[in-house]
């Protein structure tokens, strides 16, 4: 039986603005999180993901309901006790100069070192292991403000790991990163959970990546409702699409990614297969064509030819035939006509 790390019952989150007034962001939340799970909290902007994470990590009080962390109520933890259980990585990049990676990660030992912050050999050992877990060994003496955003975020994760938490909570750790940075952070989190048995809860906007790595989604709708299920189940049930429904942005159930819908431009039948077909289809859909398999009665037919490693595209409308050397010229031609 898996151990429950977090169990949340009819939780109410939001802000207290003065004693009688409060803004409720979400309520009736019932959620569970088990040891070794990797959970992604996803949902549109403004749904209250950050508020939820801040409440779960004790950075702001819950308005009602119950949060149990390792079987003990969250309010009953002192600040220090909580620091032994939960560590965080926050969205906004930290602004510190003149601090080395080693010094920053060593801060994760804060709850364990004494009043004067004396690091023992054991503490340094854990700093070393944390850096190794995030793949940042060799960066120890680098200055934090000279790292790339992705590297810095990895170091922040190492700091959180050095705190030896039972639960690692991250608030949009990939927000400021470029695509390779996003992929590598999400992979890292996935690995931390599946390979190293850490329990990870993160909010993210990188739905493609999250869908490929999370054990479960906490899918938060704009109205604050949260569904907890495997990402694939949420897609099949249509809940995922409903939450992210917006103008002209469709979730493609067949391919598992979001696509931008263009105005309808025409129909085309396409002959070809493999990667050539996939990417040609993408180019055609991008400019609004509906693509059909080859022998279909359409006005336009496209044939992908490959000879001696050279590709060409043969477009015909039944009367004329035109050949293109690359997709750019094909797209340009179709757009113009």
């Amino acid at each position: 039986m898996k151990k429950t790390v977090l169990s949340i019952k009819s939780l109410e989150i939001g802000y207290l603005n003065g004693k009688p007034h409060r803004t409720i962001v979400a309520d009736h939340l019932n959620l569970n999180l088990y040891e070794g799970q990797f959970i992604c909290l996803v949902g549109p902007n403004g749904a209250g993901k950050s508020t939820l994470l801040r409440t779960l990590t004790g950075l702001q009080p819950a308005l009602g309901g119950e949060i149990c962390l390792n079987g003990k109520e969250l309010q009953k933890y002192s600040g220090k006790e909580l620091a032994y259980e939960v560590s965080v990585v926050l969205t906004s990049p930290i602004e510190v100069g003149a601090m080395t990676v080693n010094e920053l990660v060593a801060m994760g030992r804060f709850p364990f070192t004494g009043m004067f912050d004396r690091m023992t050999e054991h503490d340094w050992q854990i700093v070393h292991e944390s850096l190794s877990l995030v793949g940042m060994l060799g960066f120890e003496e680098r200055m934090v403000h000279r790292l790339s955003d992705g590297e810095r975020q990895k170091v922040m994760i190492a700091r959180a790991l050095a705190q030896e938490p039972r639960l690692l909570v991250l608030d949009e750790p990939t927000a400021y990163l470029d695509l390779p940075g996003r992929v590598s952070i999400m992979n890292l989190l996935h690995e931390l959970a599946t390979v190293h048995g850490r329990t990870v809860l993160t909010s993210t906007h990188d739905l493609d990546l999250a869908m490929r790595s999370a054990d479960q989604f906490w899918l938060m709708a704009s109205n604050g409702h949260i569904l907890q299920a495997a990402p694939e189940d949420l897609v099949l049930s249509g809940d995922f699409q409903r939450v992210f429904e917006r103008d002209r942005i469709n979730f493609d159930v067949m391919n598992g990614h979001f696509s931008v819908s263009s105005n309808f431009a025409g129909q085309i039948s396409l002959q070809g297969d493999g990667e050539n077909r996939v990417w040609t289809e993408r180019a055609l859909e991008r400019i609004g064509f509906q693509v059909f398999p080859s022998p279909t009665e359409t006005e336009l037919q496209l044939n992908i030819l490959e000879k001696n490693g050279e590709r060409s595209w043969e477009l015909s409308d039944g009367l004329y035939t035109k050949t293109f050397r690359n997709l750019a010229s094909l797209v340009e031609f179709l757009r113009a006509s």
Partner: protein, 354 residues
């Protein structure tokens, strides 16, 4: 094994902790020899070691004027820098310091109330004649400083831009300045004179009696600060991170409030408002030691602050002349361009980056 790099880095900086006290000793000695009255070096040594056969007036000048003045300057510089360092870390703002945030003005208001306000009620309070009188002045100044600092804590903690905090401090300065003016217009001339004498600010008016109050207060506040480097380091990552690491933020804020109000208050009470040392010295220390670690920065700012203030005092005397400049003239002359450099500088400088 991983401990080595840090240890070696600290070793590399160790020499600075030999150099800085040496420099401090040097400028203090130089300051002792320079002054409007020319006293030969040999005679000064005789006076310091208590040997007889020196002109009485020279003995008086060295023991009761120059020596307390140098000690005062060193203490004031260290105190203001230590206050500036804590405040910069707490507000996460490179421009925070007692002068810029108007905390000095709060202290001034406290002093003005003590000299003129209490005078209106009882007419008893003549400042700085007895240890008790000076202690009252310190209490008044520290309370004034703490009130303004508390207000800024309430309002300014959410302020992100350094310049906004600057404006906030300016407004607090204006508000307290207006209250002081109000007091002045309702006070007896001799009390107004006592206040304005005080407000020129200098290290020269501090006597041994006053030092007997100033030294323990500064020491107490610095001991308090010496207990805080771990928490201050955690605050470098921001309050959310610090809290998530188990730091008791409220207690930390209270300790910083007490320590920096006492430091700013005691200096303002005895030396008057002194600008720019508190903002500049922490930056100098960060640049010099290339670290943000308060375990290094706290001793560093104490030493550098003392050096800067003793040097500023030396310049204020304009060696070889009969004139003495207000100390604020000197610190502003060098400090104001420094603040401009921080504000207008590249992004790297306006954050805590060096």
């Amino acid at each position: 094994m991983q401990a080595e790099p840090i240890a070696s880095k600290q070793k590399a900086n160790n020499w600075l902790f030999w150099i800085l006290p040496a420099v401090l000793f040097l400028v203090a000695a130089l300051n002792l020899f320079l002054g409007s009255v020319r006293i030969p070096m040999g005679e000064i040594f005789k006076i310091l070691f208590g040997q007889p056969g020196v002109k009485d007036s020279w003995v008086y000048i060295v023991l009761n004027y120059r020596l307390p003045k140098i000690i005062t300057a060193g203490l004031a510089g260290a105190a203001l820098s230590a206050a500036g360092l804590q405040m910069q870390t707490m507000f996460r703002n490179p421009l925070a310091d007692p002068f810029i945030l108007g905390i000095n003005s709060g202290a001034s208001l406290g002093v003005a109330l003590a000299i003129m306000g209490v005078g209106m009620a009882g007419g008893l309070f003549i400042p700085s004649l007895t240890a008790l009188g000076s202690f009252g002045l310190v209490v008044a100044a520290s309370i004034g400083a703490a009130i303004v600092m508390g207000l800024i804590l309430l309002v300014g903690r959410k302020v992100q831009k350094p310049t906004t905090l600057l404006i906030l401090g300016l407004m607090f300065g204006h508000a307290t300045g207006a209250l002081v003016s109000l007091l002045i217009s309702f006070s007896a001339p001799e009390k107004v004179k006592a206040y304005s004498m005080w407000s020129f600010g200098s290290f020269t008016s501090v006597t041994w009696t006053e030092l007997s109050v100033m030294i323990p207060v500064v020491l107490f506040a610095i001991i308090l600060l010496a207990l805080m480097p771990k928490g201050l380091n955690a605050l470098l990552l921001g309050e959310d991170y610090a809290k998530s690491m188990g730091l008791n933020i409220k207690q930390m804020r209270l300790m910083i409030l007490i320590s920096s109000s006492l430091l700013a208050g005691v200096v303002t009470a005895f030396c008057g408002p002194i600008g720019f040392i508190g903002v500049a010295v922490p930056h100098i220390a960060r640049n010099m030691f290339k670290t943000a670690n308060h375990k290094t920065l706290i001793p560093a700012v104490l030493l550098i602050g003392a050096i800067v203030a003793v040097t500023a005092d030396m310049i204020a005397q304009m060696p070889g002349s009969q004139y003495i400049l207000p100390i604020n003239v000197v610190t502003s002359f060098f400090g104001a361009p420094f603040v401009l450099w921080v504000v207008l500088g590249k992004k790297g400088r306006s954050t805590f980056n060096v």
